[in-house]
């Protein structure tokens, strides 16, 4: 029993990590007023680039870096369409997802099923990892896990406690007012989309070089969509995204626990998605004004228009 509990917690943390990374990125992006539905695609690109670079160079961190760069680069497409061209962000985001999934499948073809021999060592935090039960489960994890939490906290601090953060949030709430205060709205939105894309790619890198240590087409398995739902669930707050992501990570793990009890694995595989739906429904029934959604989310902004 003891072992089951520890391994459940441990696996929950692992499953929640990519969700947290992608959600933090999407929160940053949406706070600037741009809806990015391309998370799933950027994640896939991040996963395949990280895998290929790690395998050929033997340097996992180089793989991570390359993945983040690729994710940022491909996100420029969405930034260009939604900021410069004021296109419909839903359409452009969906296009990015399809492009990313297709592209990753294509360039990853020769690597399907090949195992990755290079390992990323777990980081064991001294003393804390000696705490009974949770010590080994929480404080002996891959570097991605700590990185995700630190980045989420930094993002929260950035949004709430820095001048640039106020500018980003104001851009999402009222771009026209923000512009009259001398902020370059387009620039803020470009960088928010690009950095958000970097976060998504980081989540993908975790999947391919740390979580499963292999590449297969479609391995992101809808996690990008869950991150978009989590963004709403976390009420656009990176701090809240931390526990929300691990709750969802837990739902991923629960399916393996329930399987031996004779519940159909197909049904269990549905759980994360059902949970997403339920949460979206619950949130929608609440007062939308209390939701805290950026007021101008997904609304294109054009300078100098009346």
């Amino acid at each position: 029993m003891e072992e089951i509990i520890i391994s459940t917690i441990q696996r929950t943390m692992v499953a929640g990590t990519p969700l947290l990374l992608a959600t933090t990125g999407e929160v940053l992006c949406e706070r600037s007023g741009i809806l990015n539905l391309g998370v799933e695609g950027v994640m896939a690109v991040g996963a395949v680039v990280a895998f290929i670079v790690t395998m050929t160079t033997g340097q996992p961190w180089l793989g991570v870096l390359a993945a983040v760069g690729a994710g940022m680069a491909i996100s420029v497409i969405h930034a260009f369409a939604s900021v410069s061209l004021q296109a419909n962000q839903v359409v452009s985001g969906l296009a990015l997802t399809m492009l990313g999934l297709g592209l990753s499948g294509m360039i990853g073809k020769p690597y399907v099923g090949r195992p990755l021999s290079i390992k990323m060592e777990n980081v064991e935090i001294p003393f804390l990892s000696d705490i009974p039960y949770i010590g080994q489960a929480v404080f002996n994890q891959s570097p991605f896990f700590y990185l995700a939490i630190v980045l989420a906290l930094v993002s929260w601090f950035f949004l709430e406690r820095t001048r640039l953060g106020i500018q980003v949030r104001s851009t999402g709430e009222n771009p026209k007012a923000t512009e009259t205060q001398g902020v370059n709205v387009d620039l803020v939105r470009y960088w928010s989309v690009i950095i958000g894309g970097g976060f998504s790619a980081l989540a993908g890198a975790h999947l391919s070089i740390s979580y499963s240590k292999s590449w297969v087409e479609g391995m992101t398995a809808g996690r990008g969509w869950i991150a978009i739902a989590l963004t709403i669930f976390a009420l656009w707050n990176p701090g809240r995204a931390i526990w929300a992501s691990f709750v969802f990570g837990g739902i991923f793990v629960v399916q393996y626990l329930l399987q031996p009890l004779g519940i159909s694995p197909n049904f269990l595989a549905m759980l994360p998605y059902i949970a997403t739906l339920v949460i979206l429904l619950v949130i929608s029934f609440r007062d939308p004004r209390k939701l805290n959604a950026p007021a101008m989310l997904a609304a294109p902004y054009k300078r100098g228009e009346r």
Partner: protein
């Protein structure tokens, strides 16, 4: 010593989609001077000021400070030259606190912990101008007057020597207007220059030293206010004489059109907004409901037109019970509505002008057949409204959002009265309109009355109430403080009634038993 001793705009030109918004504009403002910029809706006042503030680029012309030509390509440059602007629609982030809004634009905001570090500075400034506000309050919780003060602080903190105020009084209560004028006088004495945009002649005469009048994008006059009178200014602005008196002939009261009985309505915040209001309206009359904004006027208007649910009580139109029917049904029973927030409730901004000309009427036989609209008839109808109501637009194939507020209002009024309604519910119909358009709209309301309709007029403008109404009710905290004939002597106390400190009881002046 102020940075801006003298600011000049020379030969400024700007056009949108081939239409001149500004043509060869020249104006000057000196330190310690208040310049009024007067003009009808769409005369190009706001465009001109947006050029000065760097939001638009002029097609031609020059801006000079103390004789030196400068280029202003964005608001940051304008701010650094010492120009500040308070926009008509406040440029504030509603969901953010006052301090966050100020930190956003303040040039000395530090990178880390901005809210904590500039708080002292803002407090000091607020004391200087006697603004008392909790800086942690969210902007949406503030009254219009308070929001405006936040805007003024924002501009002054950035060292604005020239302050542009775009129609600053249009959203304020009379008390707040007096406070604003005090602040402006203090700033003037301090050596600031102020450009004050308005179409209200009284304010211009009261506050400004000089006035520049714009008409259709061009300057039609310059004057010192001490040499001018209201009539002269109005003539300059509209290009013809304007009558400030409207003729309201006596008309016999007709049969009963609307009867409201003891209705209770809940407001947006879940609190009772209308508490036991009853009154009756008759053919050939204009019935005014006066009161300070936010005392239940909006909820009452929405209850009568079917937008808001009534908790208890009943409403009848021509004897037919319409309580809690759908707005469309109520419209079909002869009730038209000119709503308070015209952009949100009066039009569909992205649709064409002709689509907007038949909102709520698309189902009528003359505009549709089975599943299809008869676009020929619809377009002809739109053209009729445009010519009858002098809506200025170059085409009916134009998104209505491109029209100015006054023209939108004219179109809404035209649409609502084109079907000869038995009852027109009009909420602040002349709000934000210039004298020309206001006069025009009032004439139409009177004509409607002559033709046997009833008008229920909600207005904060007492002058308007007295000019137009046959009977006046005063609303306070969701209750009617009294219903009086327009010639009743006790109307002198209307101020007290609006403040809720006086109630006028039922008496012989009201022939039908109006329980108040």
């Amino acid at each position: 010593m102020k940075k801006i001793q003298r600011l000049e705009m020379v030969d400024i030109c700007k056009s949108f989609h081939g239409v001149h918004a500004n043509k060869d504009i020249n104006l000057t403002v000196n330190s310690g001077e208040i310049l009024g910029l007067l003009g009808e809706n769409g005369a190009g006042k706001t465009t001109l000021m947006n050029i000065l503030y760097g939001l638009y680029q002029p097609d031609g012309g020059q801006i000079r400070i103390n004789g030196k030509p400068i280029k202003i390509s964005n608001p940051v440059e304008s701010i650094s030259h010492g120009i500040g602007m308070v926009h008509q629609h406040f440029m504030l982030v509603q969901n953010h606190s006052i301090i966050e809004n100020i930190a956003l634009g303040y040039k000395d905001t530090p990178f880390f912990f901005p809210k904590i570090k500039i708080r002292e500075r803002v407090k000091e400034f607020s004391r200087q101008f006697d603004f008392r506000m909790d800086l942690n309050q969210k902007v949406w919780q503030l009254s219009a007057g308070e929001q405006q003060r936040v805007e003024i602080i924002k501009a002054l903190l950035n060292g604005a020597d020239l302050l542009i105020l775009d129609e600053p009084t249009s959203v304020l209560t009379p008390q707040e207007i007096r406070e604003l004028i005090d602040i402006l006088r203090r700033m003037k004495a301090d050596g600031h220059s102020i450009i004050f945009i308005s179409h209200k002649l009284d304010e211009i005469m009261d506050i400004c030293d000089r006035v520049t009048v714009l008409q259709k994008g061009q300057i039609v006059g310059n004057a010192d206010t001490k040499d001018m009178d209201k009539q002269g200014l109005a003539r300059m602005m509209v290009g013809r004489d304007v009558s400030f008196k409207v003729d309201r002939e006596k008309l016999e009261k007709g049969s009963q059109v609307l009867s409201v009985e003891d209705i209770h309505v809940t407001g947006d915040k879940g609190l009772p907004a209308v508490k036991g209001v009853s009154f009756n309206l008759y053919k050939n009359e204009i019935f005014g409901i006066a009161g300070v904004a936010g005392n239940g006027q909006r909820e009452l208007a929405e209850a009568i037109t079917g937008i808001r649910k009534i908790d208890t009580g009943s409403i009848r139109v021509n004897g037919q019970n319409i309580t809690n029917m759908s707005p469309r049904k109520i419209y079909d029973y002869g009730v038209s509505h000119v709503p308070e927030e015209r952009i949100r409730f009066g039009i569909a901004p992205g649709l064409f002008l002709y689509d907007n000309a038949i909102l709520k009427q698309h189902h009528l036989k003359k505009f549709s057949k089975r599943y299809f609209l008869k676009y020929n008839q619809v377009k002809n109808h739109a053209k009729t409204i445009i010519s009858d109501f002098k809506v200025s637009t170059h085409s009916i194939n134009n998104q209505i959002r491109n029209l100015s507020g006054g023209n939108i209002q004219k179109l809404i009024l035209g649409r609502e009265i084109s079907e000869q309604p038995d009852l027109l519910v009009a909420s602040h119909p002349t709000y934000g309109l210039d004298v020309g358009a206001t006069e025009f709209l009032r004439q139409h309301l009177l004509q409607l009355r002559r033709q046997g309709s009833t008008v229920l007029l909600f207005s904060e403008d007492l002058e308007e109430i007295f000019e137009l109404c046959d009977r006046v009710a005063v609303i306070f905290a969701g209750e009617l403080m009294g219903i009086l004939e327009a010639d009743d002597q006790r109307l002198c106390d209307i101020g007290l009634m609006m403040a809720g400190s006086k109630r006028v009881g039922d008496n012989t002046h009201l022939p039908e038993n109006n329980q108040v």
